[in-house]
């Protein structure tokens, strides 16, 4: 099938769309304190499912929205599977390593970037560790991994539509089966996400009177964990409070709620899905490749070009792609959001060992994301929007890694 460019304005437009999307990602993630690792670890630490439910909503809404665009004929189906890569042992192993490392370091790929831009020194070290981890992966793991991939050892070998759920389930990529698959994948995720959020909020509402009485002021306060926003109000007072809340958000005096952030992030993904149709295909929201590229870029002024001689850099990582501008603008967006809201501050942890943990966790993040062929953004979230199954594998393996890290943290810190 020939590429069909939905918006035929050339690469300037495509890169600009990725830049705008990156800015939105950085801004919204910073204002919403959106972190995949925190969402997952809170399931094991505080038994709170509010943020995890928002993640499931993000995946479900993304799958439903991209599927709807394909069904309506806005974007051809080929744009959902064209760049699908192989699947195999490396996704499960890599995601578990990533989940463990990111929890130890204190941030997933998205939160690492926006927190680094907000002045968190621990996340600067995590980013640097990620560059080192990517290099270690390239020279130590990639030669073996690419061998298993080429020979189909615990790995698929074909990619593209072979990794596309409508084809895997119904042997068809027609819009009918794409729609059926999007509903079958998206609706349960959205339903489960809403259910988990309702469950957590109901539990919290039931607990509040025992601690705070029924004072409306106290009911509106955030929880001590900072993970859950104001509790639901009822009637006209709720409308008034919501309008006041919206004003506070616009003035950057109040953080975005989990679900508002989810909706805005899904919008950023849809923007690149439509703008990149026929150009970048299902290469959507990507952040981890640039952890590898940053090291490559840092070395260029010193006359070292890793893409000429080093494994992985010389056969799997293009010297440039739209995610470079996306990550740059993500950093700019997160910095501006934190600066204008007064949050920006260079923060050095009181416990110096946290710096070492951040760096070593970053190394594991680098190894994990490269082994898994992507991070929680570029592989898990994006793959749900691609109607693939790698995101499901990544989700469960990452949850396992986070669970192990929570156990280890309880002993170490």
């Amino acid at each position: 099938m020939l590429p069909q460019q939905v918006l035929p304005f050339g690469f300037l437009f495509v890169y600009a769309a990725f830049g705008v999307s990156g800015f939105v990602l950085g801004w919204v993630a910073q204002r919403g304190n959106y972190c995949f690792v925190n969402a997952m670890s809170s399931v094991f630490t505080t038994r709170s499912y509010d943020r995890f439910g928002a993640l499931l909503l993000l995946f479900g809404v993304s799958a439903l929205a991209t599927g709807t665009l394909v069904v309506l004929g806005v974007v051809p189906a080929v744009d959902q599977y064209y760049d699908n890569y192989f699947s195999g042992w490396y996704i499960v192993v890599g995601a578990a390593i990533f989940g463990f490392g990111a929890t130890m370091a204190g941030g997933c790929n998205l939160s690492m970037l926006y927190r680094a831009a907000s002045g968190y020194v621990q996340n600067w070290l995590e980013l640097f560790g990620m560059m080192v981890g990517t290099y270690l992966f390239a020279v130590l793991i990639w030669p073996f991994q690419s061998f298993t991939m080429a020979n189909g050892i615990l790995s698929t070998k074909l990619g593209a539509y072979n990794e596309y759920l409508p084809y895997d389930l119904f042997h068809s990529v027609s819009t009918t089966w794409v729609g059926v698959t999007a509903v079958a994948l998206g609706v349960p995720l959205v339903t489960l996400g809403l259910f988990l959020q309702h469950k957590t909020r109901s539990k919290r509402l039931a607990q509040v009177p025992a601690f705070t009485g029924s004072s409306p002021l106290l009911r509106a306060m955030a929880s001590p964990t900072g993970r859950i926003g104001p509790l639901p109000q009822v009637g006209l007072s709720r409308v008034r409070i919501d309008l006041a809340g919206a004003k506070q958000m616009l003035l950057l005096k109040k953080s975005y709620g989990a679900n508002l952030s989810t909706a805005l992030l899904a919008g950023a993904l849809l923007l690149v899905f439509v703008a990149g149709a026929g150009y970048t295909f299902n290469y959507l929201v990507i952040t981890s490749s640039d952890g590898g590229r940053f090291l490559e870029y840092i070395l260029l002024p010193f006359g070292v070009n890793l893409s000429l001689s080093t494994p992985w850099y010389n056969d799997a990582l293009p010297i440039l792609d739209p995610s470079v501008l996306m990550v740059l603008m993500l950093i700019v967006g997160a910095f501006l959001a934190s600066y204008l809201s007064g949050d920006f501050k260079v923060r050095i942890p009181h416990q110096r060992k946290r710096l070492a943990i951040g760096f070593s966790g970053g190394i594991l993040v680098g190894i994990g994301v490269r082994t898994a062929l992507g991070c929680n953004i570029g592989l898990m979230w994006t793959n749900f929007a691609q109607l693939g199954y790698d995101g499901i594998l990544f989700l469960f393996a990452m949850l396992f890694g986070v669970w192990v890290a929570v156990k280890v943290q309880r002993r170490l810190i």
């Binding site: 600009a16 830049g19 000429l308 990582l317 293009p318 501006l336």
Partner: protein, 94 residues
């Protein structure tokens, strides 16, 4: 702005932060136009087309990056000018 905020001790870090942002994006653009293009040309010269990027993409990247750089510089300068105004007011009232 409240009266309280104008009598606060001036914060130099807050004043120069937008300038650091401007330097970062301008430096990134200069780096991209010199080193990334150069590295891409090196890949062609050495025959490694696996990670080479077509010229149209590099041009699109640089054009979009230039626009983003202009936008960020304008925003950064506006923030700097606003903060400089507040900084001078708070310094004169201290």
């Amino acid at each position: 702005m409240s009266a309280g905020s104008t009598t606060r001790r001036p914060r130099y870090g807050r004043l120069i932060a937008p300038l650091v942002l401007i330097l970062f994006v301008v430096g990134w653009y200069q780096f991209s136009s010199v080193y990334i293009q150069g590295a891409n040309n090196q890949l062609v010269a050495s025959g490694n087309l696996a990670v080479y990027v077509p010229v149209q993409q590099v041009s699109g990247y640089l054009a979009a990056l230039l626009d983003a750089t202009y936008a960020t510089v304008v925003i950064g300068l506006l923030i700097f000018a606003y903060n400089l105004f507040r900084f001078r007011r708070s310094a004169s009232s201290a």
